[in-house]
């Protein structure tokens, strides 16, 4: 696949920190509307890849294209978010002192300028949209609670809800089920599949059962490069992947 047909296209991306090669000629492309799972052992470069895509880390070399025209390697977090790339972090980082409702309100796609927010009034349509999102993530009942008081699983869902409210074209989801119970995990898989119907999604995850549950194409990362791509069954037969996961 070339860059023209991809919503996200990484080509020979290199990142090193003090001599440590975090990403090593990484190439990857995501089709519009696709959900892709990224797996790999610790230190494979998964989070660094997310950082590069969202502008937190500048790559040393390589191209990162969004919709074939925007070079993400030259933009900062805010510009990239405005383009339509949303990110959920590994650790929930919702706004603890705000209510669940306000967290979603802040994420809703609306004017992000200082004067726009100063004079902003929450419209009926925005309130409807908040209701809708809260319903999807099943947090209607706690909407007026401070988000600091949510359970860990609920915080993860709130984060996903904030992504939904932001309505980005591409969602990057980092370890959505870390620390979740089994029932929460399968609920999250359902949520993500629902979201993937209308969005392109990249999920980074350790939990193999969860990835199997998602039932999507998988890319295996190792030492900063993609070493296999295909269905989970296909990549788990790859000798290189077995070697990486089981140790040599």
């Amino acid at each position: 696949m070339d860059s023209k047909t991809a919503i996200l296209y990484l080509e020979n991306v290199n990142v090193s920190f003090d001599g440590f090669q975090a990403l090593n000629d990484l190439s990857l492309s995501i089709r519009p509307g696709e959900m892709r799972a990224i797996i790999g052992p610790n230190g494979a470069g998964k989070t660094t890849m997310m950082d590069v895509i969202t502008g937190k880390t500048r790559p040393d070399s390589g191209r990162v294209l969004f919709n074939d025209v925007h070079n993400l390697a030259r933009m900062d977090e805010t510009d990239i978010a405005t383009l339509g790339i949303g990110r959920k972090f590994q650790k929930p980082t919702e706004f603890e002192n705000h209510t669940v409702n306000d967290n979603i309100l802040l994420a809703l796609s609306a004017g992000r300028g200082v004067w726009q927010t100063l004079f902003a009034e929450t419209s009926a349509r925005e309130n409807e949209r908040i209701d809708e999102v809260l319903h999807i993530i099943r947090l209607d009942a706690v909407r007026h609670n401070a988000s600091a008081n949510l359970s860990h699983g609920q915080k993860q869902w709130l984060e996903i809800g904030m992504l939904l409210a932001q309505d980005p074209k591409l969602l990057l989801v980092d370890e959505p089920v870390a620390g979740m119970t089994d029932s929460e995990t399968s609920e999250t898989a359902r949520l993500l599949r629902e979201i993937a119907e209308h969005h392109s999604v990249v999920v980074v995850e350790h939990d193999m059962d969860f990835v199997r549950d998602l039932d999507v194409e998988v890319t295996v990362l190792h030492e900063g490069a993609a070493i296999a791509e295909g269905s989970l069954d296909y990549v788990s037969k790859s000798e290189r992947v077995i070697e990486v996961y089981l140790g040599r």
Binding site: E94, E96, N101, L106
Partner: protein
């Protein structure tokens, strides 16, 4: 649009705050002007001036609470903006002295005659007009804050590093204003003021007028801060305070939000300084002293960070304590201030206001709920 913004800031605390503020102010004003001096009901002009000074401190505390309490920017240099507003007002009051100075020069202030200067430096031009000085009271701190904030926030200087450069800012200004050739009166500063807008600064009525002006300025500053923090912008500010990274990934330019609130805060601090100077009768470079700026932060912490009304309350209470105790045991005041700060940090992390809010919540929780509380959007 503006009307809705202001209405959004009116809640129960606002009413309590404004009622207490104007109740006390008018009470003091009437007891000073009404009863004959010597009668038991009479309040001395000293009380009027001291209260007026406290109110300007309260406004200063609110400006610090705006940036620190709501946006997490710990400024240890807000005294600089306060002093700049004070100097702008002081320059006007100097020009208003006219030929009544010791040397009787109709244009040049005494200290310039003393330094043998022949003409007024360019930056003193225009300060003979009150409206111009009043404008500079807001513009000078605002522009300085904007330029400082532009560089600091854009290069993402945060936390303790930002606090340190704000200290450096106020310290540098202090050293500059100490120099005689800066043209601001050197270490003596500006003083010997005669009148303001034609009213003698020695008269009780002018003193009361200044007290009421301070109360009005405090009320306006409080309402502006209330309206801003109650708006969606206020929610973004709190989001920046709690998780700056996350707001950036949501598409908000955190640095613009910080810059806006920082500049607004500096303008408010400038107004506080301008009202302070005619009431204490002097402005000199020691107002820029780094310790002053740290003290403001202590007022806010003691009153309750992030509550606005708490910041104002903290400023008034701490300074009331200062007036009393520096009279009784001057050498112990700093120990008491430090002790209070430590105690409040340990036992009242949300300050005095937070303590009462907690009490109220406990009291509510101890009563059986009559009906499910419903909160409207």
């Amino acid at each position: 649009m503006i009307g809705r913004l202001i209405r959004g800031g009116f809640d129960r605390t606002s009413w309590i705050f404004l009622t207490v503020l104007f109740g006390v102010t008018l009470g003091v004003a009437i007891l000073n002007l009404g009863p004959e001096p010597g009668s038991t009901m009479h309040l001395s002009t000293f009380v009027v001036s001291v209260l007026g000074k406290y109110l300007t401190y309260a406004l200063l505390a609110i400006s610090v609470d705006l940036v620190w309490g709501y946006c997490g920017v710990l400024s240890l240099g807000h005294g600089a903006f306060f002093a700049l507003g004070g100097y702008a007002m002081g320059m006007h009051l100097m020009r208003e002295i006219g030929p009544r100075g010791v040397y009787g020069n109709p244009i040049l202030p005494d200290f310039m005659v003393f330094l043998d200067w022949q003409e007024l430096p360019w930056f003193w031009l225009g300060f003979d007009m009150f409206w111009f000085a009043a404008l500079m009271v807001i513009v000078v701190p605002g522009v300085l804050a904007f330029i400082f904030g532009w560089f600091a926030f854009r290069s993402r200087v945060t936390g303790v590093y930002l606090s340190i450069i704000t200290q450096a800012l106020t310290y540098a200004l202090m050293l500059a204003f100490f120099r005689n050739d800066m043209g601001f009166g050197g270490n003596n500063g500006l003083t010997d003021f005669k009148d303001i807008l034609g009213f003698s600064l020695q008269s009780d009525a002018t003193r009361v007028g200044l007290l009421i002006a301070s109360a009005v300025a405090l009320a306006i500053g409080f309402m502006i801060s209330k309206a801003v923090t109650a708006s969606k912008l206020g929610k973004v500010l709190i989001a920046v305070r709690d998780a700056e990274h996350r707001t950036r990934f949501l598409g908000y330019r955190a640095e613009n939000y910080k810059l806006m609130i920082w500049t607004l805060s500096a303008c408010i601090a400038g107004v506080a300084g301008a009202l302070y100077v005619p009431q204490v009768g002097i402005i000199n470079p020691s107002e820029f002293a780094p310790a002053n700026s740290i003290e403001i932060v202590i007022w806010v912490a003691i009153g309750g960070r992030g509550t606005l009304a708490g910041a104002a309350l903290g400023a008034v209470l701490v300074n009331f304590g200062k007036t009393i105790f520096t009279g009784l045991f001057p050498e112990f005041w700093l120990f008491m201030l430090g002790g209070m700060f430590v105690l409040v940090t340990l036992f009242l992390p949300k300050g005095i206001i937070g303590f009462f809010v907690n009490l109220k919540e406990k009291w509510r929780a101890s009563r059986p709920p009559q009906s499910m509380p419903q909160e409207g959007d």
